[in-house]
């Protein structure tokens, strides 16, 4: 049990800035007041402790108010990706049992309340959580995973707390730190910025969208000291530069796979302190982070955060240094499990250890190298894309007999999905199939290319061998 974070911040450091955007500067005291108003509105709607309420919004001050307000009540916040298809959003609402979904845009659903509408709702007195129980679920984020069926990752207050603490013990803390939020709050990389803000008492700078030039400007003005990004964002920011970053900017936390060597060299040249990191929704963000002074460990994701344990396993045995196997992690930021999905929870959580499905090794000094993201995970512009999910959609089309999806390199997005399809008796075109996917999947999941083939490579157990598909691409 520790005090409600924002409330405690408003008490301890009321005048420090909590949020900036291009038009406002909001102190912790003011954010607390706004949050209480929103919480009173949720009480008016009948929201109670333990209810699930979904948020389908782009980063904004309002979104922050909504998230904190739900925590004041003790409701569980379901964070939804605004790029999901209507069908995907509804599936999550249904599965989670969400009572409402607060959204920026008009959304056709009896549970939906558009922000403009919510803002006008009445208020009613309620009882706020003055203490957070670290074991309570604070947020849910769905992730598709290997089976293609989305699983709701339950992140507790403790998960977020320990993640923030592990990070501060690695990156340090200065009173005037300000963290740029250019990654979405519906991803753990973005949400963790909000959590760190109220735990550390530092500012968050919210930008409406990723604009490399604008962000560079903020950095040169000394307005932000840290930011979270993926390689493609850093790439675009570097392209705009003609002078090195000022020393006020002290941390560029880069997730979603190793930073390419040429980009890393540019970062050194322009004085960009890159911290490469490995983490996932199931660990409430960072598991391991590589500090700039270990830059020579090219391709490594660094060492674990202080509160985390990492080991490499194969067939139940712990491997030695430099032997590749599954990355298994333990620590208090590991999720409580998947929402109402005991089977999938038990499949990955054993005795407190999380079986990530990712493949990697640790060198003699304990630096982690991630070789393959779990189940051929495709990371496209920072979004996780699971082949199995796309394959499942393709197989719903009456013309498709078999489907196999892999990620292929892309200059802009890092990777994009590429599909191989075996047709049955009926005919279809690449364009028709892509349109079919478009109706069912977020745009970034729709295969950029679909190739028709006579068969797919399968092993003796008839399991699709996606690494063979990769070879087909390379050979082509």
């Amino acid at each position: 049990m520790i005090p409600n974070w924002l409330r405690q911040r408003a008490h301890l450091t009321p005048n420090r800035v909590a949020l900036y955007d291009d038009t406002q500067v909001i102190s912790f005291a003011e954010l607390h007041e706004r949050t209480v108003k929103r919480a009173r509105q949720f009480v008016y709607l009948g929201v109670k402790k333990g209810d699930v309420v979904a948020v389908l919004m782009k980063n904004s001050v309002h979104m922050v108010e909504v998230i904190h307000a739900l925590h004041y009540i003790g409701a569980i916040v379901l964070l939804q990706n605004v790029r999901l298809s209507v069908e995907e959003v509804k599936w999550q609402l249904e599965h989670s049992g969400a009572r409402f979904v607060i959204c920026d845009e008009l959304f056709q659903d009896e549970r939906a309340i558009q922000w403009n509408e919510f803002a006008q709702i009445g208020e009613r007195d309620g009882e706020w959580q003055t203490m957070y129980n670290l074991d309570d679920v604070a947020t849910i984020m769905y992730t598709s995973g290997t089976t293609g069926k989305p699983k709701g990752v339950m992140q507790t207050y403790g998960n977020h707390w320990w993640s923030a603490i592990g990070s501060v013990l690695n990156l340090g803390l200065r009173e005037n730190d300000c963290w740029l939020a250019a990654v979405p709050f519906f991803h753990v990389s973005g949400l963790s910025i909000l959590m760190r803000s109220v735990i550390y008492g530092i500012g968050v700078y919210i930008v409406p969208s990723f604009d490399a030039e604008r962000i560079n400007e903020l950095i040169f003005q000394g307005k932000i000291s840290m930011m979270s990004a993926v390689s493609t964002m850093v790439q675009q920011m570097v392209r705009e530069l003609n002078k090195p970053y000022p020393p006020t900017f002290r941390c560029m936390l880069v997730g979603g796979g190793p930073v390419p060597q040429p980009l890393l060299q540019s970062c050194v040249r322009w004085n960009i302190p890159v911290y490469q990191t490995y983490g996932m929704t199931e660990t409430a963000s960072q598991v391991a982070t590589l500090s700039p002074d270990a830059r020579h460990k090219h391709g490594s994701a660094g060492k674990p955060l202080f509160h985390m344990h990492i080991r490499i396993e194969k067939e139940g045995k712990q491997l030695n240094a430099n032997e590749a196997g599954e990355i298994v992690v333990k620590g208090p930021s590991v999720m409580k499990g998947y929402w109402q999905n005991e089977q999938e929870t038990n499949a990955v959580l054993k005795d407190g250890w999380l079986y990530t499905g990712d493949i990697g090794y640790m060198d003699e000094e304990g630096f982690l190298y991630v070789l393959d993201r779990r189940s051929d995970l495709i990371i496209s512009g920072g979004e996780n894309v699971y082949p199995a999910e796309i394959e499942a959609v393709l197989l719903q089309h009456e013309a498709v007999k078999e489907a196999g999806v892999i990620g292929v390199p892309d200059e802009r997005w890092g990777q994009v999905p590429f599909a191989f399809v075996v047709l049955g008796d009926q005919m279809t075109t690449e364009e028709q199939l892509r349109q079919f996917c478009m109706n069912k999947l977020a745009k970034y999941k729709v295969p950029k290319r679909i190739r028709f083939v006579n068969h797919l490579p399968r092993n003796a157990a008839n399991k699709l061998m996606r690494h063979e598909l990769k070879k087909w691409i390379e050979e082509a």
Copy 2:
């Protein structure tokens, strides 16, 4: 469960400096190696997880090795004040059931092992705690309290962890921080420096004794960035100054009562960033800390650390702002209880709230003001001195019929104990009585003056009214 702190540090930041003294610089990797050797020696002695082992040492690298080594095994470290009388030390050993006491000096006891002797002992393989269970007892420190009978405060790994985390969220963290240890490790103010060092990965500078000139030198050389002190130490350091402190020195954490206003003004003049703090053995150090930017709140101990809750109570009711009552605190750094003393534990710990016995109030903004330390506590040169304990010793003398002790102001030590004695049929002298105390009490507890009187002020219930004794002094 989180990874063993020193071991994890040796893994994550092996080359950072863990300890400095005037002759050595020791990295975390080296401290880990030395600690493993000491742990192997303790295994050779037969020390097991859960055993109590006492440490009766002055601050030194060896003392640090011993403390960490015992934690590697999972033994409980009893930290003993080297200024205690032989009788006091033995009482603690007996009460705690300590198997050994490691001491700098020769100590006549079958459990005692002098450091020089210990250093020569053989080694044996053991199993180290790779994870710390936050609920396990890590250390015991005896504190005398109201009844005069010492109580062993059980501090868990979690207490130390949360104390360190609460502090970092208040004071921030820089990679090159180094904390001067001029207060003893057998007090929580000193021990908490060691804990922060391995949790944060920062250095500790150990000095053999408090030498104001030498410490100023270290500060001007930029070798230390933070230190813990009591007012009398700061007073002496200020006296030596002829130029302001450099900006590399960023925190002077001052406990043991408010810093006098004139001293505070000198600190402003000499650029000494004073953080006044309120804490106790039972809370593993800091509960509240006043930052320099709230200097206008003269006499305040500041606001609670992030993880702590403070309220003011009187007769079971929570008081409003500016009303004085008992200071009651809650949070994960509150002790587990008193060692084998359920009665005293239940007397102070209720529903997670610690009844400190200290009197104070909070102003409208939530700043804490401590009016009276518990049970007329005397703080002399940073040491806690309990009147009841001295009175109990005086009453053991055959000539003494009644005794009452209070603290009187002292330029050097802040306060010193002063005794009032009513004699019975026998006669004695002040000098004889002081000598009698000297044999039974640590020197700093021996009354500086003893005045013989005909009666002591008592209330209707025959309870000694120490505040009346204070008036006697003021009137004299």
